[in-house]
């Protein structure tokens, strides 16, 4: 069920009505029912797969919880040394369950997302007849598999570390995994963040609903008016890159950067808004990433929940593992302390970034894109201090707006190059786009005459982007003031008619200027990941 369909509007309204009619202690059941319907709408077989995965993980989580309970009981009256021993013994026990559960969920993820890629590349690089006889393999991945798998992993690892207690009620656990506002495209919500909100009693509050609806409208505006309108232009060029050359690749890179941001953050806003209508606040996944002044900052503002996941469950475990610490010492011994330190710090960063690329799909372009960002982030770490010294020597006022805007533009340009790597149909086409963008400056295109978008559509894109920029700047200013207020909070303080007017203007803009209906694609870019 697309979240920008009429059906979703009806579905959401019906679910909300039932949810608020239901006594508080049964409200989560409404969420579970709605989530099953929402997911089942995409295909019953996928629903069965998710539920089966959830059952397996649930059983392992109970075993892990048992171990945690035993640990607590046994260590209660024990002395410190014995307690540590008990803790270690139980941790080993839990580790077995954790590894087994992780093996199952990651294997399922790999089968659906990467097996075809692995077979294809093994066949390409290993010229053995038997291997060549392996048939090509391509499975259609269940909706949001990358997202719910990561949620399950975070649940298991947090449980292993004793940060959370296992949910003993299977249906409640299933509600967390399948909660429809986050199951298809995230945010990758950790159990400790959302679990308790789901079981709480939420009373009907029109202000809460209004805040949620505003977020839904804003998300739909970004998705339907900006992203989907730009899509006709980017699809035209990315579909046939070798027919174009020159500056147009910068234009399409910028356009795609806006498109993917509006598409993904638009979806997040719709989902978060829908969730807020139920009184459940999901974490922010985007904080105006194109205002970032460095790439590491960009990644703290873009797809925040995925970044946090990799930081928490890949970067820290890898960089603090015994194996890595030993390697670190060896590298420093061999190549010196300074370079060795940088080199050692780069390994977990590159691991995280290759995995981030792979998470989008087993495609060389995604891996190259991950590597590109990994290398840039390593370089920014490496050159951070020398650059700071240089700006100091050149007496550049780092706090002035022009310097900050320059840094934002520099980061944006680096992102645009990354988008061209990401969107190429093979590494060759990415190289072509970047090289041609830098060299063939002579070729000029007419955005209205040479492409499918009409002048009126370009005008809509331009005006909408100005609105997006204005709202983003306003939100950024509010956040920098640290008053704890956001734009919706400001709106809530305004006159009731003004609030409604904003809503009417928002809905009318989407209805009149949005891309939807017959022939329009309803898919979100991140749905495929």
């Amino acid at each position: 069920m697309s979240v920008i369909s009429y059906l979703f509007i009806v579905f959401l309204i019906c679910t909300l009505i039932i949810y608020y009619i239901m006594p508080g202690k049964f409200q989560w059941i409404v969420l579970l029912g709605a989530s099953l319907v929402f997911y089942g709408y995409a295909g019953i077989k996928y629903l069965l797969l998710v539920v089966t995965e959830a059952v397996i993980v649930y059983l392992f989580s109970l075993r892990m919880q048992k171990s945690l309970d035993e640990q607590e009981i046994l260590a209660r009256d024990a002395d410190r040394r014995t307690a540590r021993k008990i803790k270690n013994t139980e941790k080993v026990k839990r580790k077995k369950y954790l590894v087994a559960a992780l093996f199952i969920v990651i294997t399922i993820l790999v089968i659906f997302k990467a097996l075809g890629f692995l077979i294809e590349n093994i066949k390409r690089f290993v010229p053995i007849d038997r291997i060549q006889d392996i048939p090509d393999f391509k499975l259609v991945a269940p909706l949001g598999i990358s997202f719910y798998t990561f949620m399950i992993i975070s649940y298991l690892v947090d449980l292993y570390n004793g940060r959370i207690s296992a949910q003993r009620n299977f249906l409640k656990y299933l509600t967390y995994v399948m909660y429809f506002p986050h199951v298809t495209q995230g945010p990758i919500a950790r159990y400790e963040e959302v679990g308790h909100q789901m079981w709480e009693h939420h009373r009907f509050n029109s202000d809460v609903i209004m805040r949620g609806v505003w977020l839904i409208i804003w998300g739909a505006f970004k998705k339907m008016v900006i992203a989907d309108r730009i899509s006709a232009f980017t699809t035209e060029i990315f579909g046939d890159v070798f027919s174009y050359k020159g500056m147009i690749f910068w234009a399409v890179g910028i356009a795609y950067s806006i498109q993917i941001y509006c598409d993904f953050s638009g979806c997040m806003d719709i989902m978060r808004g829908a969730s807020e209508c139920f009184g459940i606040v999901l974490g922010e996944n985007f904080r105006r990433p194109y205002f970032s002044q460095t790439l590491p900052e960009f990644w703290r503002r873009w797809h925040i929940s995925l970044g946090a996941f990799f930081r928490e469950y890949v970067f820290y475990p890898v960089s603090t593992s015994k194996l890595f610490l030993k390697l670190n010492v060896k590298i420093r011994d061999h190549i010196g302390n300074v370079v060795g330190k940088v080199f050692a710090a780069s390994i977990p960063i590159l691991c995280v970034w290759i995995l981030t690329g792979l998470w989008h799909g087993a495609v060389w372009n995604y891996i190259a894109w991950g590597l590109y960002h990994g290398i840039l982030i390593c370089m920014s770490t490496l050159f951070e201090q020398p650059l700071d010294r240089l700006t100091h020597r050149l007496k550049i006022r780092t706090e002035c707006a022009s310097w900050q805007i320059f840094r934002m533009l520099r980061t944006f340009v680096l992102c645009v190059i990354g988008r061209l790597i990401f969107m190429g149909q093979g590494i060759g086409s990415s190289i072509w786009m970047i090289r041609s963008g830098f060299t063939d400056w002579g070729k000029v295109y007419d955005l209205v005459g040479d492409f499918t978008l009409a002048q009126g559509e370009w005008s809509v894109i331009l005006i909408s982007c100005i609105v997006l920029l204005a709202v983003s700047i306003a939100q950024e200013i509010l956040e920098r003031r640290e008053t704890g207020e956001d734009i919706r909070g400001w709106l809530m303080r305004q006159n009731v008619w003004f609030r409604w007017l904003v809503m009417v203007v928002g809905i009318s803009s989407i209805v009149i200027c949005g891309v939807y209906g017959s022939g329009a694609t309803k898919a979100f870019i991140y749905e495929q990941f």
Partner: protein
């Protein structure tokens, strides 16, 4: 309590405002097409100034000249006719028509019953398309809602879009230029009162209709005719069923006679211009531009005859205030110039035959 009332009032106001904006925008967004504009022209007529509404397919708007009827017999008429109009739409059209006009008489062209008898040949996709074209211009109302729900063979999303044309045609607003949009915002009546004429001709021969032993018109199809009569009774408006003259093939001829027999049997007020003697005086060798429609010369003869018939049998008289009267006088003048030009072309081609 006060907060609750305030909340309800503000929500209703917002919904009304939204409904109004989107309905208006929908009227601006619908495709520029004569059939889609039928309703816009009808709604633009001053309220309660139309005596007769003529409903049907192109077999109505090709035959009828509203300005001629007004000039010759002094009553006003409006055409709610679109190409290939499905007979099932007629009761809904009647219901919508009386919302803004105090209609004295409905003249319903019934050839669409015969088209319905050939529905496999027409194809349900085409019927669906024709319904879309007809319905887009209609204002959102319960009548339109029921029409779409009952007759539109599509999924719910498409039905919602047809109910609110802005959802279906919003992209047009980005394609139209400023002048086109301003022109559409200016609600005005049609210059020629919705008639559509041609000045070419094709030599045809009046067919002789022969009955067949086979029964083509099912009870379901004949039931649609009954629905028209029932709706007219319900609305308290007279209805006159007609079959305009055309060059029917053997099967169509048989169906026409079958229809005649049924309508005669039911006692409905009905004129078939295909069977019996030619009371209009049409010249089949020059007055048709194809086998199914008259040209401008044929339309003149048909309108004169029908208008006289209506005047004699229903005693209609236009009651117009200054502005509405001027509107009709202007239309008569405009059409008269156009007709003169078309007739000249027609005469020239007939003479050169």
């Amino acid at each position: 309590m006060i907060k609750c009332v305030k909340g309800t009032v503000s929500i209703l106001s917002v919904l009304l405002m939204l409904f109004y904006i989107l309905s208006r925008a929908g009227q601006l967004a619908i495709p520029e097409d004569f059939d889609s504009d039928v309703w816009a022209s009808y709604y633009a007529e001053e309220d309660n100034t139309i005596n007769t509404v003529l409903i049907g397919s192109s077999a109505m708007y090709r035959y009828w000249l509203p300005t001629r009827a007004y000039e010759e017999q002094g009553f006003t008429s409006a055409l709610l006719a679109t190409a290939g109009q499905d007979i099932r739409l007629i009761p809904y059209t009647m219901e919508e028509a009386v919302k803004s006009q105090d209609v004295d008489l409905f003249v319903v062209e019934i050839r669409s019953a015969i088209t319905r008898g050939n529905v496999e040949e027409v194809g349900s996709d085409k019927l669906n398309y024709r319904l879309e074209v007809f319905a887009t211009g209609m204002k959102p109302s319960m009548t339109k809602f029921r029409m779409i729900q009952n007759l539109y063979d599509a999924d719910e999303s498409k039905k919602i879009e047809l109910m609110f044309p802005i959802l279906m045609f919003h992209d047009n607003l980005l394609q139209y230029d400023k002048e086109e949009i301003l022109d559409r915002m200016d609600e005005k009546t049609d210059e020629y009162k919705m008639t559509r004429q041609k000045s070419t001709f094709k030599v045809k021969k009046r067919p002789e209709l022969k009955a067949s032993s086979e029964r083509y018109l099912t009870d379901e199809i004949l039931g649609y005719v009954d629905d028209i009569e029932k709706k007219a009774d319900e609305l308290g408006v007279d209805v006159l069923l007609i079959s305009t003259p055309f060059v029917a093939n053997e099967k169509q001829g048989a169906m026409q006679l079958e229809l005649d027999a049924y309508l005669d049997d039911q006692g409905y007020t009905y004129i078939d211009f295909n069977s019996g003697e030619d009371v209009i005086g049409l010249d089949y060798s020059t007055d048709f531009f194809d086998g199914r429609h008259t040209n401008v010369a044929g339309a003149k003869k048909f309108t004169s005859y029908m208008a006289k018939y209506i005047k004699e049998n229903y005693n209609l008289k236009a009651e117009l205030d200054g502005e509405a009267e001027k509107n009709w006088t202007d239309a008569c003048e405009a059409w008269s110039l156009e007709e003169e030009e078309m007739m000249a072309k027609w005469r020239k081609s007939v003479e050169g035959k």
